[in-house]
Amino acid sequence: MQSKSRQDYLQEIYRLQQKDNSAIRVSELSVVLNISKASVSEMVKTLSSEGYLEAKRYGRISLTDKGAAVATGLLRKHRIIEKFLCDIFSLDNVHEEAHELEHTVSDRVIDKMDKMLGHPDTCPDGDAIPPKNMNMKPLSDIKPGKTAKIMLSRIASESQSKRLVSLGVCPGTSVKVIRKLAKGPMMIQVKGAEIAIGNALSQNILVEEA
């Protein structure tokens, strides 16, 4: 997993999944990357065989835990570089430069930059900077009584992911697990309200435990 374009794929998929709060279509990815659908499909196949992506229902794809870890690592670099270029060098429109640099700057340089910036939470565009050594796991693995922050959704159904967004279950929100039934639904508290969600949904919402 070293090739730059593969990393770009994973990062772009991560962004799209965060935006849609669901697994994504290959066609969507091809539009965003401005690459033909055939080549995108080819790359998706490769990444799937390497365990970074998984196929979902309705012809949608999603990052695996492994794929999401690579993507967030890269996104962290990208956003810290953006922040650095903006704050320290007072530059505008830093996305392209950050995009180039994220593949070359080493981890220890990034850590130093992060420290120098005072461990910021968000990049200049207001998007969250993923924390270091993020340990994402499915919401279904969180024990009752614990709180977790939603990072990524792998839900394939568009209508269900929309319903969840309108209930406040989307990346960036914190949820508290109240109780759950073994291999069954779980009750979560989000934005002051209590919601029950099915097992297959909670398995497909990646969170970071607080």
Binding site: R57, S166, C170, G184, Q189, G192, E194, A196
Partner: protein, 588 residues
């Protein structure tokens, strides 16, 4: 469906609408609507009670106004049926003003919808509801700051006891100009962020629930062990009270009716009319009404009182949570439990309630299964015949059989119907003590339908039966069905006629049977085995006509006919097999 006086439920009626109520599910829109119009929209403590547009007229300060209640939605960006209904109404009716009712406790989430509504350019008034609950949790909302942030009037109300409801209407009428543009609501990711920022600004105090009694009941009723024990207890209580209360109530109404009206009327008719008309009128007016009073109404009344209590307490969504795993086996999820519970009352509102389900696939499966749930009319037959003459064990056996069949059919459909099943997403309302007033009002609204729609059927049907009997045409009519009814099902030939009546209304089957047998004691002309088979067949075969119409309306003629034909075939097959098994066991 609950037939409501002066309430127009058709979404097509959109010529004139002054005020439209919009808001998240279960925030009290229907409660507000009822307070204003003094009409009865169904109010419950679970999300998704209103699945259609309710329309009502009222007067405020000498002005005639119309108001509409819409299904609760979280956002217009959703594809489920109830959201489509709410969205279409906004587009077609273009209300002059919207009152957006929000739950103070869930202000942040509600504001996303408020922002969507404001962007339609229709004037909006924000009504903060449930202030008493918020005070308990020590939340304070800075109304002035909220007004400023949103740019619309804000008023705190309590829809349950009516505080400030007039105030909200007054504010709305002031904003009502009728001259505003309209833009279809577009989903916007920014709304959520903006809502969060506004909420942060105006809310003082912690909105997360504190440990209250409601919390403790919540924990107990959804416990992996006690939860199921409670669920079992609740269901047992529901059906035993149906059996005991319904049965005794039926006995009592029968006694009173016959003593006060029935017997004197019978004597009067016999003295004043020719023998032919005596039979017709006695069948229609005396026996018909008596049958409705004794068989149908008591069971239906008791069931709806119990169901209303369950709904208003907030227990139904907990049932959905507990039953989720079971329903998954049928390709469904826990939320399908809600329409199915309604199905124990009447299939028609249950079929309309499937609109709360997000996908067509689960709506169809649920609607098919609803036809196998013993509705209160079927319960009247099961308890009134098998329960009374054979014992409660037999009634229970028929119940169990139809539920097992439902599960098997669901399992097959879940595996073989194309498409994938969706997952449970349901909000848990807080537990509330049901108000007796609301429970009785709701029961009455649901009963009214049965009383005013069913009784004429029963009276006319009974009279027609009387005419056929005195003309000696009954046996001729029964002839074509004899091979199936007498041959395969081993029932008396006249039972076939009563089953035809049952298509009009299920409970008519038993009522006509009592008339034709000439005795309220079925054992005088039927064996126990025959009573059992009759109840089983009457429960399973063709859903009543009203249900068929509802199915056609919601899912099309094909689905309607498919359900009609397949349930009838199922009833005949199962009925015959059950009869033969009873013969083998020497129980026939």
């Amino acid at each position: 469906m609950d037939c409501q006086h002066k309430v127009d439920r058709s979404a097509k009626c959109h010529e004139h609408c002054d005020i439209a109520l919009y808001g998240n599910p279960n925030v009290g829109k229907s409660c507000f609507f009822n307070k204003v119009t003094k009409l009865g929209a169904t109010v419950s403590n679970f999300p998704g009670t209103t699945v259609d547009i309710f329309h009502g007229d009222f007067e405020s300060h000498g002005k005639k106004l119309s108001i509409s209640d819409t299904p609760g939605i979280y956002s217009f960006d959703d594809t489920s049926q109830d959201v489509t209904v709410a969205k279409d109404y906004l587009t077609l009716a273009k209300p002059k003003v919207i009152i957006n009712i929000v739950n103070e406790l869930h202000l942040e989430r509600s504001l996303s919808l408020t922002l969507e509504l404001i962007k339609t350019k229709i004037p909006v008034v924000l009504a903060l509801n449930f202030c008493s609950d918020a005070k308990k949790r020590k939340i304070q909302i800075d109304e002035a700051a909220l007004e400023k942030a949103l740019g619309i009037p804000v008023v705190t109300i309590d829809a349950i006891n009516g505080t400030n409801v007039d105030e909200a209407i007054l504010l709305a009428t002031k904003k009502m100009s009728g001259k505003h543009g309209f833009i279809l609501p577009v989903p916007n990711k920014e709304n959520a962020r903006q809502a969060e920022a506004i909420a942060k600004m105006v809310i003082n105090g912690d909105s997360s629930p504190v440990t209250s009694i409601s919390e403790k009941i919540d924990a107990l009723t959804t416990h992996p062990v006690y939860g199921y024990a409670i669920l079992f207890g609740v269901m047992a209580l529901l059906f035993s009270s149906l059996f005991i209360l319904g049965g005794n109530l039926g006995y009592l109404t029968n006694l009173i009716f016959m003593a006060l009206i029935g017997t004197p009327l019978k004597v009067f008719i016999a003295a004043n009319t020719s023998p032919f008309w005596t039979t017709v009128l006695t069948y229609g007016l005396v026996d018909g009404i008596n049958a409705a009073l004794q068989v149908a109404i008591p069971y239906i009344a008791v069931f709806y009182i119990m169901l209303s209590i369950l709904e208003d307490s907030g227990y139904l969504p907990r049932m959905a949570y507990l039953m989720d795993k079971t329903f998954k086996r049928m390709g469904l999820h826990g939320k399908c439990m809600v329409p199915m519970m309604l199905g124990f009352g009447c299939s028609v509102p249950a079929i309309f309630a499937t609109r709360i389900l997000p996908s067509k696939r689960e709506r169809v499966i649920t609607a098919i299964l609803i036809n196998l749930i013993p509705c209160s009319a079927r319960t009247a037959i099961i308890l009134g015949a098998a329960g009374v003459f054979l014992g409660w064990q037999y009634a229970l056996a028929i119940y169990a059989l139809s539920l097992i069949l439902m599960f098997i059919v669901g399992y097959i459909l879940g595996r073989h119907l194309p498409g994938k099943s969706l997952e449970l997403v349901i909000e848990m309302p807080e537990f509330r003590v049901p108000s007796i007033q609301n429970v009785l009002l709701k029961t009455w609204l649901r009963m009214k339908d049965f009383i005013f729609m069913a009784t004429p059927f029963v009276v006319l049907g009974s009279a027609a039966l009387g005419a056929l009997t005195s003309l000696g045409l009954l046996s001729a009519l029964a002839k074509p069905f004899e091979p199936i009814v007498s041959g395969w099902l081993m029932l008396p030939a006249v039972a076939g006629i009563t089953l035809i009546y049952g298509i009009l209304r299920k409970e008519l089957a038993l009522e006509m049977l009592i008339l034709l047998g000439g005795s309220a004691n079925l054992l005088q002309f039927m064996t126990p085995g025959q009573i059992f088979v009759f109840c089983l067949v009457a429960t399973l075969y063709f859903p009543c006509l009203t249900t068929f119409v509802a199915l056609r309306k919601e899912f099309g003629t094909k689905v309607g006919i498919f359900i009609g034909v397949s349930t009838t075939a199922l009833a005949v097959i199962i009925g015959g097999i059950a009869g033969r098994m009873l013969v083998l066991l020497n129980l026939f």
